[in-house]
C-alpha cells in the first residue's frame, strides 16, 4: 500500500467510526437472532464475515427462525444483495491490478463504506473504502460472535433508536454527494421509485429498481 493509501484508509476509518457503536449493537442482535434460529456460533460468524450485509442476514435468519423454506430465506437475501452488482460496477474503474485482487478488494464494500469512498462524479478512492470497510467489517464480525456466544446482554437496539442511525447516516452522506440539479433529480426520482415499489415487490427489489433513475445520466 502506498503512503496516500494509508492516509486515505485512516480518513475512511475515522469517517465511519461514529457508526461503529450502532453496527456493534446490531451485530450482537444478529448473533442472538442467529443463535435462536439454530445457527451455531461458527456459522453465524462465517455468515457475517462473508455476506457482510446486515439487512440480508437479518432477513434470511428471521425467515429460517419463522419456519420459512430454505429457498425463501436464500432468495430474499440474494435479492437484497443484488444492488452490489451495480455498486461493484461503479467502483470497477477505480480498482486496478490482477483479477484476483480486483475480486477481493471490493469485498469490503458495504453501503456505508461505498458512500464514504465516493469522491464525486463517479470516482472512488479505494483507500477510503478499505479503511471504512475494515472498521465496519471488524465490528460486525466481532459483535456477531459476542452475540452468538454471550446472548442478549444489550436488549433491543430499537429501544435505543439505533435503527434510525442508518438512514441518518445515509442522508448525511447523500447531502454531501449532490452537487448539481441532475444529482438532485436522480436522488429524488430514486427515492420515489423505491417508495412506490415497496408494497408491490419482494424486499430488496425497491433499491435495485431505484437505480433506473440513473438513466437520466444518459442525457447530455
Amino acid at each position: 500500500m502506498s503512503a496516500t493509501h494509508v492516509t486515505s484508509a485512516g480518513a475512511g476509518a475515522r469517517a465511519v467510526a461514529p457508526l461503529a457503536l450502532a453496527v456493534g449493537v446490531f451485530g450482537m442482535t444478529f448473533g442472538v437472532l442467529a443463535r435462536d434460529a439454530g445457527f451455531g456460533p461458527v456459522s453465524a460468524v462465517v455468515f457475517s464475515a462473508t455476506t457482510f450485509a446486515g439487512s440480508a442476514q437479518f432477513a434470511a435468519t428471521s425467515l429460517v427462525s419463522a419456519g420459512g423454506t430454505l429457498t425463501a430465506a436464500i432468495g430474499t437475501a440474494v435479492l437484497l444483495n443484488v444492488r452490489y452488482v451495480p455498486i461493484g460496477l461503479s467502483v470497477a474503474p477505480s480498482l486496478h491490478g490482477p483479477a484476483w485482487r480486483r475480486a477481493h478488494r471490493p469485498q469490503l464494500i458495504v453501503d456505508e463504506s461505498w458512500a464514504v469512498g465516493h469522491l464525486g462524479g463517479g470516482r472512488y478512492d479505494p483507500g477510503l473504502i478499505l479503511g471504512a470497510g475494515l472498521v465496519l467489517w471488524g465490528t460486525w464480525v466481532v459483535s456477531t460472535g459476542i452475540g452468538a456466544l454471550a446472548g442478549d446482554v444489550l436488549g433491543d437496539p430499537e429501544r435505543l433508536g439505533l435503527d434510525a442511525a442508518f438512514p441518518a447516516l445515509f442522508l448525511a452522506l447523500l447531502a454531501g454527494q449532490i452537487h448539481d440539479r441532475r444529482g438532485f433529480a436522480a436522488a429524488a426520482l430514486g427515492a420515489a421509485i423505491a417508495l412506490v415499489c415497496v408494497p408491490f415487490v419482494p424486499v430488496g427489489i425497491p433499491i435495485v429498481a431505484a437505480s433506473a433513475a440513473c438513466l437520466i445520466g444518459l442525457r447530455r
Partner: protein, 101 residues
C-alpha cells in the same frame, strides 16, 4: 450439512460474486462516457432509496414511526452543518425518545 450452513454458504457465495463481478469484468478500465454518466449517479440515487426504505418500510409495508422522527431530527442537524457523529446521535436520540413516550 445443516440448514444453517446451507443458508450461510449460499448467500455468502452469491454476495461475494455480486461484489466482485463488476471489478473483475471491467477492472481498471474507464467506462464508456455514456455509461459513466449513468454510473456517476448511482451513489446519490441508491443512497436516497436507502434513506426512504430504511426510514419508511417495514418489510413490504410503508409506515411512519419513530424512525421518521429520527430522520427529521437528522435533517435539522444536517441543515445546521452538524458533524456526522452529531447527525447520527441526534437521529438515534430522537427516535429513542419517541419510543420512550
Amino acid at each position: 450439512m445443516s440448514d444453517a450452513w446451507i443458508v450461510v454458504l449460499a448467500i455468502g457465495a452469491c454476495t461475494v460474486v455480486f461484489k466482485a463481478l463488476g471489478p473483475v469484468v471491467i477492472g481498471g478500465r474507464q467506462l464508456p462516457p455514456r455509461l459513466a454518466g449513468v454510473v456517476a449517479l448511482l451513489a446519490p440515487t441508491l443512497l436516497a432509496a436507502l434513506v426512504v426504505v430504511s426510514t419508511f418500510a417495514t418489510s413490504r409495508t410503508l409506515v411512519v414511526d419513530a424512525r421518521a422522527v429520527g430522520i427529521a431530527a437528522a435533517v435539522v442537524a444536517i441543515v445546521l452543518r452538524a458533524p456526522l457523529l452529531v447527525v447520527i446521535a441526534v437521529a438515534a436520540i430522537a427516535a429513542a425518545l419517541v419510543r420512550a413516550l
